[in-house]
Amino acid sequence: MSEQRTTAAPQHDAPAYAGETPSGIPIPVTATPDMAGSYQPVLPGEYPYTRGIFPNGYLGRLWTFRQYSGFGTAEESNQRYKFLLEQGQTGLSVALDLPTQCGYDPTDPMARSEVGKVGVNLFSLAEMETLFQDIDLSRISTSFTINGTAAIIYGMYLAAADKAGVPREKLTGTIQNDILKEYVARGTWIFPVRPSMRLIADTILYSNEQTPRFNPISIAGAHVRDAGSTAVEEIGYTLANGLAYVDELVRRGGDVTKFAKRLSFFFYVHMDFFEEVCKFRSARRLWARLLKERYGVEDRNAQLFRFGVVCGGSSLTAAQPYNNIVRVGLEATAAVLGGAQSIFTCAFDEAFQIPTEQSAEIALRTQQIIAHESGIAKTVDPLGGSHYVEYLTDQMEAEEMKIIQELEDYGGVEKAIEDGYVQMRIAERARQRKERIDSGEQVVVGVNAFRRENQSEGVGEVFRMDPKVRDNVMEKHRRLLETRDDTAVADSLAKLEAAAQDDGTNLMPYIIDCCHAYATIGEMVTTLKRQWGEFQEPVRL
């Protein structure tokens, strides 16, 4: 019998680490148990929630399929929402046009060319009522991506529910209501920082009492991320903003154990698969630790880091757009493995147009296929315990905390924003990303690699906005002004103005009264601008 000898094991001359994640964290060639220094096998639902906030994960309830949508008139968006609900979407996500977001009536010169373009126009309660025609507000959860005018849109939503006879305690949904990131990455700010923080505290405290199932804020990292920040910065800036809101609410006498239960978060999912999964795991852990260590929060429900995500954004390309279906599929998978509570999957044509019904449907099907065919939601945090995943979670948490500390050392997020410091860092990151893509260092398939002649740059069915949208909206505006009770409007606006003069008065009841009187969004914002002025953007390059 011949001797059988095991050949010698190959020598591992390769370095232990090779390359970096997009956030700059060294990547082990092969992760080993010793690399995950702080790993403890904590169960999901157990502090600090690395593996998830619920013991049963998605077994009891899948994430919400919440596709962002809205354009044109309230009537047109209402049709699209009914279509999406019929197709299996489980929560609504309303896109508002820029006049609505920035507080201009459709008749304002700044608004004229923007009416109904990036979202639906809601200039008054009447439009909000039309938007939800035949949609049961007591059963459908609605998220509004609204910030500068969040208090007003929330006011209209409550007023619409009041008129439809839906009890406020039944209302579920979210308003983004996160002004800090507007100043640095999204641009729909209106008032200066201090009065904006006051208004946000007003909405959160009011909502906690009146609409206890509603999330009055969704603290968003998505926009700094889409602008070019790394995953680590996305979490760092966002949690720093979150802490600023907590501090404001505590200053206003809020009980952190109560209001923290209704703070929610919102992020992008881009293409580095494991960074995205570990980003969410690290954020859950970091937020819970910060609440416990800094604010003494012991109530489990107040420690939970609940978040929604959008898959796509600037990770998608106009070049060879069908590739985006694959990108979004991977990103949504990362979101599920990361434990997101709600997911918006972008349509493949998102890079260059409002989605058509066809592209919107594929985006929704992407989630449904993952949910019902892939099996990954049948167990909680299946990547937990992976040496690489635990290593990366640890590393990202440490880097995220450094950013929070850096902003605190600077003097706090409000100062950093007013100085333009955060804005400058984001612009620099954006520029670095552009240079990496231009040089080919960062590969983007179809853009700087694997191109072909006559490739599609925008293709398929083209979404055509109804050219009469603006005229329709202007006509509705004209008719509203004719039919409403001018005295009631003037009266409600005067009361709002008086209330705004006292920092300690919660403005929500006054805003809701204005909505009920059919005051327009422009009228309410003008009233508040008279009191607070406008934010002066620090233009620094």
Binding site: L98, S113, T188, A427, A430, K434, E435, D438
Partner: protein
């Protein structure tokens, strides 16, 4: 032919809040030696034209990702003409669908730059137009 010393205004007309592209272009132009002024967000066509004239710029770059380009680009060009500044070259950047590009050129835009174009190509085109 060079951008050294050229004065360029980068502007955000209308309500669009996406400023990443505008800032990237502004930084790149500055590094190429141009004197760059950035308006910040939320400016009217009339304001942009006034600043362009006051600052005596060679070119204005309009950045738009809100879909409002078909109205705001011609309005800004008209505002420049109204101030007797039709010699100021106008460029457009952002999400501009192919089917809209010709009419913007017909209105007077001398260059249209979408986000996937390489920075060096954008700068080369600007340089050539201002040559």
């Amino acid at each position: 032919m060079s951008l050294q010393g050229k004065r360029i205004l980068i502007a955000k007309p209308g309500l669009d809040g996406h400023d990443v592209g505008a800032k990237i272009i502004a930084l790149a132009l500055r590094d190429a030696g141009a004197d760059v002024i950035y308006t910040g967000l939320r400016k009217s066509p009339e304001y942009i034209a006034r600043v362009a004239v006051d600052e005596d710029v060679d070119a204005v770059g309009l950045s738009l990702l809100s879909g409002a380009h078909n109205e705001l680009v011609p309005e800004t060009i008209a505002a420049l003409q109204a101030q007797d500044a039709a010699d100021i070259k106008v460029f457009v950047g952002g999400t501009i669908p192919t089917e809209d590009q010709q009419s913007l050129r017909d209105a007077g835009a001398v260059g249209i730059f979408t986000s996937e174009m390489k920075l060096e190509d954008v700068l080369a085109q600007i340089e050539q137009a201002l040559g």
